[in-house]
């Protein structure tokens, strides 16, 4: 039989993950409710400040959307033996890592765009095509972070706990709620080491204008791209190192 493109099997792993994990009513409901509830909570707290809060909420939904399943998917598949099946297939480790991350990235992008759309429609925030690039890169970085965390842990519960250990401090330290300029210097240094900082800043640049952002858009995009490359390298190294744990 003719062999198809070497990329296609990896794409089908992504589609399988989307069908198996993401296209489930509870997760779809969560993906839709999470941004709405977040925005509603901030709106009720301070209706006058909601416009400036929306970019942070977009970044937060991308982070939670991309890591929600990704951070436990590999751990779960290790437990049920499904990772062994994927490892038996003629897929290179990097194709498999990319395939696993892509499903989470697409879900993260979807939830982020929903929040973005709410901001644009309800509060008339501007929509720049560059926001798509920021969200796509951010989703990839966060999904890869999820893959790294999933590879680090043997148990699903441990992976969830570890993910929250990273996610919540990141939300508070990356300018999501508090502008970077208002932070103490040492907190700003910490913020510069977090991918969410650049995602939120990039969204702020695109939706509120350059005057509301801390960095230039190109800096944000480069930083998120660098985080993505670094996290991909880390995921690949961990994947190879932990290969036998997955059997």
């Amino acid at each position: 039989m003719m062999q198809r493109s070497r990329w296609m099997p990896a794409w089908y792993v992504t589609l399988k993950d989307i069908r198996t994990y993401y296209l489930k009513p509870p997760l779809i409901s969560w993906g839709m409710l999470f941004p709405i509830v977040l925005i509603l909570a901030f709106f009720l707290r301070d209706p006058g400040d909601i416009r400036s809060a929306i970019p942070g909420l977009v970044g937060m939904t991308v982070l939670f959307g991309a890591t929600s399943v990704e951070a436990v998917a590999i751990t779960f598949e290790k437990r049920i033996g499904a990772m062994e099946r994927l490892l038996m297939a003629p897929l290179s480790p990097w194709a498999l890592v990319a395939a696993k991350a892509l499903s989470g990235a697409l879900f993260g992008l979807g939830t982020g765009l929903l929040t973005c759309a709410l901001g644009c429609i309800v509060w008339r925030l501007s929509f720049s095509p560059y926001v798509l690039i920021v969200l796509a890169l951010g989703s990839i970085a966060f999904a890869l972070l999820g893959v790294v965390l999933s590879l680090l842990m043997r148990e699903v519960f441990d992976a969830m706990t570890l993910t929250n250990f990273f996610r919540f401090p990141m939300v508070f330290l990356s300018g999501t709620f508090l502008p970077l300029g208002d932070m103490a210097l040492w907190l700003r240094v910490v913020a510069c080491c977090l991918p969410l900082t650049y995602t939120v800043d990039g969204v702020r640049y695109c939706m509120l204008g350059a005057g509301h952002a801390h960095f230039a858009l190109v800096v944000d995009l480069l930083a998120i791209a660098l985080f993505s490359v670094g996290l991909f390298a880390a995921a690949l190294a961990l994947f190879r190192h932990r290969l036998e744990d997955m059997l």
Binding site: T20, L86, M88, P90, L91
Partner: protein
């Protein structure tokens, strides 16, 4: 491989199973389906596979027989490119496992010990996904899946979730999933473990059919009768090292000179086994359930020794009969292990004398 010739030999059913109807070519100059040279794998200080030298011919069914923990699964993982050896090399379907693991994976089908398809996906969806994983063209996904479902008598369960299938059906579907890409070599890791008698028998018939259709099969098992019934040759592995590899007939012939007596006591006690093992004229004693398999120098002398030992220990004989040597006798003769270690949960520590 000539497709027309292959179909002529196998018929449509053979083509459905995979048989020798391969489009993908093996490695250059492929003679043996599997060839290992001093293949070694350590886990820390433990040598799981110890300098394995093995050759499996194309179309052959080799049973890799050994107790739990002998290194059977590790050998499969090495040969399928899942893990790397610490020493030695191996070629599978003509490709080096170290240099071209992806090419090896394209040529082999693996049925792991655990039936590890996706529980929420239907039988057909699982097979279609495997077609996708192996890069088969979209046009054949459905056709190939339905062929395999029919071959493995699962057509009426095509839309049933994998998780809702019985153990035997899950096992059959897992084997079907390993055949979607018509592999040259099929690795079966304890395929009948945990199945009821009927399902296991059904599965063995299917394995025999695959073998008759020309698929090279590497079957690991700890069930001696299974190896005896299915294999062209049997390789016995103990503590990671290959003890012997030969045909079942040749292995049986190795202990043909030994007379053997099967003894059942009204109540078999370990002290009896120990006493018999110490008695003069007894070559070996292995336990198989309640029966003791006693290899002796001569039947007459052996019967006298057994009776004397039973009297000495106050045991009553329930049944005594002479037996023709089986592969189990050969296993005991060659490995010096009690055949009880081959039961599930047995460990390879049970020296017989």
């Amino acid at each position: 491989m000539d497709r027309a010739v292959a179909k002529g030999r196998n018929g449509p059913q053979g083509a459905a199973l995979g048989g020798i109807d391969h489009a993908a070519k093996g490695g250059v100059g492929m003679v043996s389906a599997i060839e290992t040279s001093s293949l070694t794998r350590y886990y820390g200080a433990l040598c799981a596979v110890d300098h394995l030298d093995l050759s499996v011919k194309q179309g052959e069914l080799l049973a890799f027989l050994g107790p739990n923990g002998a290194g059977k699964t590790t050998t499969i993982r090495l040969l399928t490119g899942l893990i790397r050896p610490n020493e030695g090399t191996a070629q599978v379907a003509g490709y080096d496992i170290g240099e071209n693991a992806t090419a090896v994976k394209r040529q082999v089908g693996v049925v792991p010990q655990r039936s590890n398809l996706y529980a929420e996906m239907s039988a057909r969806q699982n097979l279609v996904f495997c077609c996708q994983l192996y890069g088969l063209p979209r046009a054949v996904w459905r056709q190939r899946s339905d062929e395999l479902l029919a071959t493995f008598e699962l057509s009426d369960r095509a839309d049933t979730a994998f998780g809702a299938l019985s153990g035997g059906m899950k096992r059959r579907l897992t084997i079907a999933a390993a055949l979607v890409h018509r592999p040259r070599v099929l690795f079966l890791d304890e395929p009948t473990m945990g199945l009821d008698v009927r399902s296991a028998r059904h599965l063995r018939a299917m394995i025999a059919r695959l073998r008759s259709e020309g698929v090279t099969i590497f079957l690991t098992t700890h069930m001696i009768p299974e190896a005896e019934a299915l294999a062209d040759r049997v390789a016995i592995i103990v503590k990671g090292a290959l003890a012997v590899v030969d045909t079942p007939e040749a292995l049986r012939a190795r202990c043909a000179q030994e007379a053997a007596i099967e003894v059942r006591f009204e109540r078999t006690r370990e002290v009896m086994v120990t006493a018999l093992r110490r008695a003069r004229g007894i070559r070996s004693v292995s336990r198989s359930g309640e029966a003791l398999h006693v290899a002796v120098d001569s039947v007459d002398e052996g019967l006298r020794v057994i009776q004397r030992t039973a009297d000495g220990e106050g045991a009553r004989l329930a049944q005594v009969r002479t037996v023709v040597p089986t592969l189990e006798d050969a296993f005991v003769h060659i490995t010096n292990l009690d055949s009880e270690v081959m039961r599930i949960g047995g460990t390879p520590g049970g020296k017989r004398r």
